[in-house]
Symmetry: C2
Subunit: 139 residues, 2 copies
Amino acid sequence: MNSSSLTHTYSIGDLAREFDVTTRTIRFYEEAGMLTPARNAQTRIYSDQDRIKLKLILRGKRLGFSLAESRELIEMYDPASDNARQLKALQAKIRQRRAALEQQLNDIRVMQHELDAAEQRCQQALQGLEARTKTTKPE
Amino acid sequence: MNSSSLTHTYSIGDLAREFDVTTRTIRFYEEAGMLTPARNAQTRIYSDQDRIKLKLILRGKRLGFSLAESRELIEMYDPASDNARQLKALQAKIRQRRAALEQQLNDIRVMQHELDAAEQRCQQALQGLEARTKTTKPE
DNA sequence: CGTTACCTTTACGTTAACGTCAACCATGCA
DNA sequence: TGCATGGTTGACGTTAACGTAAAGGTAACG
């Protein structure tokens, strides 16, 4: 109707397909209080906002965060807090998260090098096998 | 005895303290077939090798890997396989892992920027509060 | 008007990764 | 000698994060 209204809506199935999760999973996140889609009678209707939140949850999941942790991360997005104490607490959490991410970055770098080494060993083992199949008979 | 014998051993408590896990956790990893410490009668005796394996498991955990996935990673360390088919499979897994790590790297970078932004919003909110406490009375 | 495709709620089941006893040895030391 | 410390094996409990099945509602399609 309104071409300037760029605010899409999604069914639960739409989101499930897009992010490759089951509808059960999405409903579970709602039970956990992490999503609060609008309703058309019984049927859930998801906004772009909801979609973004789901995206954040799933990214958190890929990084090994629990739902509780992801919830915290999401809450950092709108410091609706007008309370200095809460804001300080939020900053502390941000610092914690940052440290955890640094640790993960390190872990990943180390693991990448180890994968490099593992792959080289694989290559060499394969070349060793191939060399032998040219001189000795395979089976 | 032998000063060149740099092969330390550890009790289960040693390792638990070093890595900040419970002994139950370490025994659980053994049940799962991921650790096979030597024994002095009943008592478990961990070698440097065992310690490294535990380290790998815990790093995997920090990266959100399941124990099964960590097990695969650890198996990549000794391509004891003399079978070309297995080596190919191992290479495929290495590629998979690498892709997952790339994804994680991206996730982390994005999340770091978002934490930056969140922190700025916090700062501004706090400064906003402070400004008002100088003109209007607090409480 | 039946069936197909989605959607709903309710509710019990499952798996991973440990936690938490209990009941029991071994060892050093005050 | 007693007891604190640290180790052992069961075995059952717990929590998170969904899976799965049952029973039903609605809208479009042929």
